[in-house]
Amino acid sequence: MKQLNVEKIRKDFKILNSTANGKQLIYLDNAATTQKPKQVITATKKFYETTNANVHRGIYKISEEATKQYENAHATIAKLINAKPEEIIFTKNATESLNLLAYTLCSGLKESDEILLTQMEHHSNLVPWQQNAKKLGLKVKYAEINKDGTLNIESFKSLLHSNTKIVSVTHVSNFLGTINPVEELAKLAHAIGALFIVDASQSVPHMPVNAKKINCDFLAFSGHKMLGPTGIGVLYGKKDLLEKLPPFLFGGDMIKEVTFEDTKWNELPWKFEAGTPNIAEAIGIAKAAKYLEKTGLDKIQQYEAELTAYALKRMEEIPDITIYGPTADKRGAIISFNINGVHAHDIAAVLDEENIAIRAGHHCAMPLAKLLGVTGTARASFYFYNTKKEIDHFTETLKKAKEFFK
């Protein structure tokens, strides 16, 4: 397989050349959001400058052009994850996609029905289920994690039974970096007749993800974590399931026929896209998907695996460091860590002095942080525009921080 030309790729990201106090930005907070290449920025700008109009409305040229581009964006995202265009619903972000599912699916459940999650879920795949369950008297169970941060499959199996109606699992943990065996989990969930949902926010940007092959019923991810704009997310659902599911938001564009008494729903995917959508952002996420495909998601995955293994090796040189999560082969491009004697927030502040951006905190997974016995961690997360040279500077600065706080 041909290697990525990272030097060439970096030229597409103007922000990577920016400096503060003469120091070039080293951006290692990609699990929070990624930077955007000029191709994505140009695509949204071009839309506003040349074809801006509302979609599914006007019988005039630019509205028809806007509609065509907006509908094509669904097809582009469908191709990225091997789905049909009508199975792609645009939302605000993965959080909204998961809320859509929690509200509509839970409304069809009865008391004592169960929802199975894992202990490593992001708040976005936990709070919507927890709150709907509270309202409706449903139970939420959490499959345990092993000491190394991988999912405890035995615990997962033991919590699956005939009352389990929904199973929702992250593909890659935004905290531990753990890659979960979603294909295997889908089989287990389906064997007892439960629906299987994947939070793919940290996987779709970094590796080939095939919704058909996973055989998940629904899958959610955000545009801004995969080179796309903020304000656009995706919900994939199997067509027959989406047809049966009631709408989440009501209003314009999601209707076929409205009388004072009743309403008929529009066809998929528009049934779930009420109101004027984020048209420019949809065009932006489609451009981002094309950029990822052109670069090659298999190459991106391989490059990031090398980068992560290198970072783990370099970080282990630091005295009193604790690295959370599994070994490099079971991990995405995410490393959470603490250095004894230096609070995570101070680590982030010291790195910021070198214009190195990382995250410090609980990473929107407070129950997991509590389980690990930490109030927070520092987290470095990589993307395919990062380099080993950047990781060297990052690890050298960590050593400096440890020395300073000695």
């Binding site: 106090n21 101070d346 109030t375």
Partner: protein, 128 residues
Amino acid sequence: MSLDTLYREQIMDHYKNPRNNGKLEECSFKITDTNPFCGDEIEMFVKMQDKKISGIKFTGKGCAISQAAASMLTEFIKDKTLEEVEALSREDVIEMLGIEIGAVRVKCAMLSLVALKNGINKYREEPR
């Protein structure tokens, strides 16, 4: 800006040797607060005598800024009245720390004062 400007000697001194660290067995009120953004935690114990703060202690976990600010604040408010504490502002805390501070880290710096003011509010509401 260098690390020495970010973490002035005085801040590191208070962080490593926090003043008034610990608990008060007998206190007029105590209060806990957290900063969910970075997981800072603080618990403060206040003893009142003749309408003045006669004793103050704190325990906590957190970054250098949050812990140093708490340490400095406890030194500053001893023998002050509750009204004087309530009059303290964000600017006063930043001046105490003596560093420039960004919008996010202000929350760390302010944790102890915010906690203390909440504690005072509760203390005032309690029937005695």
